[in-house]
Amino acid sequence: MDTSNTTALRIYQTPVQHLPDDLYVPPQAFAIWLEQFAGPLDFLLYLVKKNNVDLTQMPILPITEQYLAYISELDTEHFELAGDYLLMASTLIAIKTELLLPTPDTPTDERDPKAELIERLEEYAQIKAASQRLDNLIRLERDVFLAMVSMPSQDVMNAELPNYSPTLLIDSLFKMQLQPDYQMHTIKTDIVPLSDRIASISRQLSTDGARSFYELLDKAQGKIGVVVSFVAVLELIKRQLVGVVYTEPNNDASTLMKYDTDPSDINNQSQELTLQWLA
């Protein structure tokens, strides 16, 4: 196939004529170069474009070889960058193997992997083009700007302004740090938000070092508060921010006896369960 027939492609400002045969891309530069692409499909699309061929006529073998040649340049240091690329490489190898084997006469149920890949490439190319069109729309905060004005003077507006507690600040920091990656599920808003309890318990424990579960409860939150606090503690234990220490019960024996058969002794027991801040 014709590798000299390249469209005007550039790596940074340098026009590149022959790829991949004549160009040595040092691994470091290659890693940077990979970052220029939005992913393996983007990269593959670039190779197809460079060879200036119709997508449906994509010569899979030379493209595969070019792709693999690039990927093999990756040194181990940059593997973390390359997971998605390696996955694509294995897909390409599978396709290549298939093409090299003689076609069996018996029809199979399996879809042609090459057709599947081309379909994905087409779909990606479509979205890529659509995203460029989206970017060309007149956009707020790039092409047009909202007018910002200040509210009437503080003294007039402030009449009913509440005082803020400094713990708001520290809780917000905890929330920011403890916030897991966006989990893909909707969360019902509870009367006692779990994140608030996590933040508040973290703050109390990190300030005081250790406390009993009972002491961590906000009595105003009632039963649901106990449940949410318990879940919060479990979550903190899971994240290894909080540990459990068993302390010797120093309650007097009669109290213990008294509550021994009482189902409500859970509270009492947990008083001996001391939670400790580990971070």
Binding site: A38, L41, L55, I127, A130, F145, M184
Partner: protein, 203 residues
Amino acid sequence: MVDIDDSKQPIEAKPTRAAATASIEEDHTSLEDVSKHIEVLLHASEAPLTAHALRKHLSLSTKELKQALEVLERRLETGVLNLHETASGYRLQISDDYSGLIQQVFPQRQERLSQALLETLSVIAYKQPVTRSDIEQVRGVTLSSNILRQLFDKGWIIEKGFKETLGRPALLHTTAQFLDAFGLSHLDELPPMPDLETIRTLS
């Protein structure tokens, strides 16, 4: 101060219309006042305000609102702001004649979006509702949580409903704020997807 609390009788508009010419002056004045109240609310609101919200807050009839908005637009012409109607309501923005000046003086206000973010957003916008793994399938790349976080942060996408497959992954949709930000009033107005024929012959 604002004594327009009565539910149906906010300004002395309807009676004056049938009355003497002197009252027309008065009618005019109160429309001017209403237009100022609208201007205040649009400035003070964190999000665009719908016609419905404006009518409710200021106890206006549809007609009064329309007239007051016209008065407001006329007054704004002498300054640098525009009244702009978006998918989620009215907002005040700086006339685009001045965008160049703003970009020059406050380059940090000019927000650039990465290709990865734009592609992710496009998959959601054009193919919604989609799951996280639908996006990964189309883009061929693991979706970074940072990109999703930015989209959630801007209020451009939300989770609504689940796909009835293994793990019941949440479905992502774009929001009215997304339309607002891109100057669209409806999803129909998204630029058309390039057709496959053009895509196939890539050059």
